[in-house]
Amino acid sequence: MFYVPLSSQPAIDITKLVQKKLGQDVICKQAVECVRIDEGKRFLRYAAIVERSREHGLFIFTSSRIPCLQSSDLSLEVIIAVDSGFRHKADYHLHLRSADKHVLLELPRLDTSTAFLTKIVSLTKDRKQTFQWLEKYRRECQVFDETDSRTSNSSNPFADDVFDPLRHVSQSQGVTQAKTAGSRQTTWYEDSTPIASQPTASNSALQPSHRSASRDSLDKSVNTYEEFTDSMESVQKQLGISWSVEFNSAEKPASSREKFVRQFLIERENEFTNVQYLKVFCGTWNVNGRSPLEPLNKWMVVDNEPPDIYAIGFQELDLSKEAFIFADSPKEAEWQDAVMSYLHPKAKYKKVKSVRLVGVLLIVYIQEKHVPNISYIDSDSVPTGIMGILGNKGGVSIRFTLYSTSLCFVNSHLAAHQDEFERRNSDYRDIMSRTRFKQFEPPLEISEHDIVFWIGDLNYRIDLPIDEVRTCIKKEMYTRLLEEDQLYGLLQASSDVFKGFEEGTPKFDPTYKFDSGTNNYDTSEKNRVPAWCDRILWRGPNVKQHRYNSHPQLRISDHKPVSSLFTVGVRVIDQKLYKKVYEDIMKHLDRLENDYLPQIKLDKTECVFKDVKFIESQSQVVTVVNIGQVPVEFEFINKLDDPTYCKPWLKATPSKHYIQAGSCCEVTVEVYVDKATVAKLNSGEEKLEDILVLHLAGGKDSFITVSGNFLSSTFGSSIEALVQMHGPIREVPVADLLEIEQPGSLNRLDIAQDGGRLYMVPKEIWKLVDFLHRNGLDKEDLFQQPGRNSEIQLIRDCLDTGKPDRIPDNLSVHSVAEALLMFLECLAQPVIPFNLYSQCMASCNNLMLSKQIVSHLPDCHKNTFLYICAFLRELLQHSAKNGLEPKFICIMFGEVMLRPPPLSTPNKGQASVKDRRSRLREEETKKSAFVYHFVSQDLNL
């Protein structure tokens, strides 16, 4: 065959098509057909010189149809601006270079090409240009590039998964279309109409199309069940962590589960699949461009029983020039009809698909009864002729999935001539590597099928002198011939060519080359050596060959047709068994999933604290043991509508932690009643009761109940209650305490009845002040140096229990000083009650108003206030020794005696830290100013 350039056809003016494609903004000077060589591969393209306002660009187009018939077939692939950076090296190989691109084109040796080249040479002399107009077209190229990269970069999250059917299945139609548009494969045939190919339920469930390949890799990754459970564990470990973010977004568990289900299904496949045996007929015939003038039944009907599948391959179907150029060939229809009418008469058949590449035609039929079980039908063709793109040689393939087994039929016409052995091998490699079933994402290859039949005019010859071959044929010494048969040699040696393929021993005369119309070997002057050019090979399990024959009765061609009949075992899923195994697996996974939920055990769920005292911490340890299979992350979480996970007097440390499987974590549950919480516990408004909710990320919650009894303290009592208490607070029955802590209890009290004995000031304050009076008047750093915690606790006990009656003199003055400040600060109502706070703030600079406020205080508050102020005055009289300054004293006591009501703390809104600080400072000044009136002088109220 020789190279017939497509554009030499007068019917197609490619320049006009490009012009139409680009619109009227630009002028297409000339367009030619060419081959673009990219990474050693050759692609048919159209190159065009495009001009606009004396600037030029070279546009390279792909075409969805070869030859291109309409402007819509064309898509822009690359643009090269003919600018100052443009370089070219032109002969019929045209190297084009611009700043960022390099394109190598090969032009046919035609006048049009010469004209094209001459134009390009002349272009380069143009001046420096801007080429802004090219941008619009460049964007088109980018769109093209993007769609291309997107398809290769599937959004499938399981892309790296070893056994994932999605790997081979496009996610959406949109992606496919992009793929088709960007396809660099040249297709030469027109799809014949196939039968419906909706996947059956069983197929979609197990997606078995490429199983044999993937199963190998699965075996490598998961050898045993133990290994699998290990891997499961590691995945689950990861899950444990990922769940901690947000359990409900259980994306990960779902996808891993899917993977496990599939792996389990593969492992247990035998439990739900049966093997069904089907008869497959394969036939191949190089018809030398003839029409089917002989009946084909002698070739196609070899057995009494009808085959389930027919795969018929022809070569040299049409040798006319037109066959290279036009999509349809009248010969195809003739042969299609002939095949159809000579299918086995005892069964009804439907065509699966047919595919033609110039003269190489493959037709697959299947018995009608199997149609519901066939799915994923696809075809492809690979030309291997001149320049690697012409279809006079090449291979066509049809693949489909029958039940759960994937089958692929390849019909090829490999390079001819005795000594083109290597060329044939390279054609095989081309077809094997370039065939792509694009219905799948990424596209499926021939090698990924369970069973492959490879038929055709493979053109392998017998390396013996012609006389010896003829003698052997006469004597039916096929073994001798076979020994020198090139293909037989390949199959015996472990070559990469036809690796894994098998062939039955041909026990028939070589099928090539005959004088047409006779059974006589070639008598022409070429005197070809007879050869088994026409062969039928297979690859895959469960294939048994019954017959392998040639059919010398058919004489129209210079080749004899060859046929073979096989029994092929396909896996059939028993739906009932499948469902049973599937449900079994689901149950198993459910159980696993529950087993792999985080599990912990607590050594106790109740913490009871006995006799909790003010400012004295008590703690217990709760041990959280991770008894599950996965690491857990726990956290104490807030209960409904609560702002924090626990009450302010309670703390759990750590409040959030991570525990490895089998390990444990000790959580310290601590109760500490401080000055902020003591008042409400004293008054009985609150109790030492709370429930901690220990939440496991992705799992259950556990409750830890915390309870205890609080020993009432004079710290945090009210002045009203304290002045009524004759004995120590611990000796007062709780009921009475609650009563005297009620607001206004003093007013209700029948003083006369009770002997009228009310303290002027709380005796505890008296005791504290008395101590300081006795021991601290001359001490430096009073109220500045912190006290000792243990001593403060002693003081607390002394005040609360009355034992000893007096604060022991051996205690540090500083501890007592701090206790006094603390006592004042803890009072349920400050010395200056909350309701007068803002009034005090407003009148702090006015002595008269301040006096008025104090004189109207309830007696016990007034007395306490004046008592403290009198003590402070006395302290200041010793300032020479103790170094106290009035300003400092007033600030310290102003803070504790004048406290803002709890709800109006200056924390409203989004006031900035700066604002708040300055406001606090301002209030501090006002408080001390207020106190100062009474500390600086005895006002005799």
């Binding site: 499938n156 059917p165 999605l166 081979h168 299945v169 496009s170 996610q171 959406s172 139609q173 992606v175 496919t176 014949s192 109409t193 196939p194 039968i195 419906a196 190919s197 909706q198 996947p199 979609s204 469930a205 997606q207 409900n248 259980a250 779902a254 996808s255 589960r257 899917e258 599939r262 159809m340 009418s341 299918l343 009804k348 058949y349 439907k350 065509k351 699966v352 039929y365 009608e368 994923y376 039908i377 219905q439 599937y582 689901m586 996974l589 459910d590 159980r591 529950n594 769920t605 209960k639 409904l640 429930i691 909710v693 220990l694 799992g699 259950k700 919650d701 556990s702 409750f703 109940t705």
Partner: protein, 214 residues
């Protein structure tokens, strides 16, 4: 196809509520593990279990929260009602007191869940018919008056346990189908997870015109 073969398309959140000792945890265990836990300790906290079920060919993942029944935890367990698509309210047919408390549990369930939450009443321990303290008819009437689904079950024998969980899911699914349950609502208790399509792109024509050879 709406859903892949393994992926689930919905997540339903369930809570199980009812008095202490009525068998809530045993019901959960029976449902997820198909086993009866003989010595089930009191739940102090909230147990959690999952199972994937199928309703109308849809895979649904149930996330089940089994709450502590003790009265002292009542305030805390209320946190868990929020966002439940189904509530299984359990009493013990051999202990009348657990039945008498149902109205209080129902009040909580109604107040703390959304109006479309499916509430299913379960009379547990129906294997102990000899010790029955609450008749089927009485409970049935209570359920009808309050618009609840109802079954007597046994976590011990497994009787009706599957049905109770599945019927609840069916009802929820029905609510989704007829639009009464808005999946976009924050606390519907249902998450929809559209499954990825898995059939290959099929460029083939659906029907052949000339391929038939018969």
């Amino acid at each position: 196809m709406a859903a892949g073969p393994y992926n689930y398309s919905y997540i339903f959140k369930y809570i199980i509520i009812g008095d202490m000792g009525v068998g809530k945890s045993c019901l959960l265990h029976q449902f997820t593990e198909k086993k009866f836990m003989a010595d089930c300790p009191h739940t102090i906290g909230v147990e959690f279990g999952t199972r994937i079920i199928e309703v109308a060919s849809q895979k649904i993942k149930l996330q089940i929260w089994d709450t502590a029944g003790q009265e002292r935890f009542r305030a805390v367990t209320r946190s868990y009602y929020r966002g439940a698509a189904g509530a299984l309210m359990v009493y013990d047919i051999t202990r009348r007191s657990t039945y008498n408390h149902l109205s209080s549990w129902l009040t909580d369930a109604r107040n703390l869940t959304n109006p479309n939450t499916v509430i299913f009443l379960i009379g547990n321990k129906c294997d102990l018919d000899a010790q029955r303290d609450v008749t089927y008819e009485e409970a049935k009437q209570f359920a009808e008056e309050n618009g609840l689904m109802f079954l007597e079950c046994s976590a011990k024998t497994g009787e009706n346990v599957e049905d109770a969980f599945l019927d609840t899911a069916k009802k929820i699914y029905q609510n989704i189908q007829d639009g009464s349950l808005d999946l976009n609502a924050a606390e519907s208790g249902v998450q929809h997870k559209p499954a990825t399509p898995r059939s290959p792109i099929n460029t083939d024509q659906p029907q052949n015109k000339e391929g038939c050879a018969c």
